[in-house]
């Protein structure tokens, strides 16, 4: 199974999740696609969660595991008959393991147009440091 270990952040695969978690509400469980990138000060996670509004989004940090959960309701009206169904509404969920290299008190989340943006600032000791080389 592919997992990538970046400094401070590890993505848990859907299969790991399925083993530890059972669906507790009706609807499908979806794994949102994510982009993860790193700059000297922070790691940023972008997750596609269309149909989720801020009231239905939960971000949970527990024992170093950051879990994002968002519910999207079906937008079809009661009288609608479906002709083509390429997606279904459901619950988006994905977890990430954080190391101590992340300043867990400074995590910021914004949700716009169905994209969640999580900024995970690095703790001071994890930032790259320029070491001055002195010549005598």
């Amino acid at each position: 199974m592919a997992t990538d270990k970046t400094q401070g952040l590890q993505t848990r695969e859907a299969r790991d999740l399925a083993a530890t978690m059972e669906a507790t509400r009706p609807g499908v469980l979806l794994t949102p696609p994510v982009d993860i990138f790193e700059d000297p000060n922070a790691i940023t996670v972008l997750a596609d969660m269309p149909g989720v509004n801020p009231e239905r989004l939960k971000i949970d940090l527990h024992e170093g595991v950051l879990t994002i959960t968002g519910h999207a309701d079906a937008s079809e009206g009661p009288n609608e008959v479906t002709g083509v169904q390429e997606y279904r509404a459901g619950t988006f969920q994905r977890s990430f393991t954080l190391s101590e290299a992340i300043d867990q008190n400074q995590i910021r989340a914004t949700l716009k147009h169905g994209v969640l943006r999580l900024r995970l600032p690095k703790a001071e000791q994890a930032k790259p440091r320029q070491i001055e080389i002195r010549t005598d």
């Binding site: 700059d39 596609d48 509004n53 937008s75």
Partner: protein
């Protein structure tokens, strides 16, 4: 560029209410749960995934296009064909290194052929929480009409 044409009521698609269509959806759902891979086409590189539905007065097309500016979306209606196109670009990030890039990116265009012609001016388009919803009022001729059976 992803170009794909959908023809929901054409010969290649099952009637929405048919038992076969329902069985296929159930099968997709089962496979998805077992494999963890979405059966919604997103994994197959089709973007954006679309749902097409109807009620007695309207057709509805919904497309999942998260994280785009409404001004970057083009919706055009020519006779029976509705085309949604645009480009999804991640904002340029300076000096970062990527660890994962799973989100679809780039130009896209998808067309849906519906069983009736539409007046583009009456099509309503909304973009909320990353979902584009097109509401197309059916022309009078396409609406179900009750015919009284007379007995002599």
């Amino acid at each position: 560029m992803i170009v794909r044409q959908l023809n929901p009521w054409g010969p290649n698609w099952n009637h929405p209410g048919s038992a076969y269509a329902q069985m296929r959806r159930d099968m997709d759902s089962l496979l998805e749960r077992l494999s963890g891979v979405p059966a919604d086409g997103s994994a197959a590189g089709v973007f954006p995934p679309m749902n097409v539905s109807e009620d007695p007065g309207h057709y509805y097309i919904r497309a999942l296009i998260p994280g785009i500016d409404a001004s970057q979306l083009n919706v055009s209606v020519v006779h029976q064909t509705v085309t949604v196109s645009g480009a999804r670009q991640s904002p340029e990030e300076e000096g970062v290194s990527y660890h994962r890039k799973e989100r679809a990116e780039g130009a896209f265009s998808r067309s849906v052929t519906l069983p009736a012609s539409f007046d583009g001016a009456r099509v309503d388009a909304k973009y909320v929480d990353g979902i584009l919803t097109l509401t197309l009022p059916k022309p009078e001729a396409a609406k179900p009409r009750r015919v009284t059976v007379q007995t002599s």
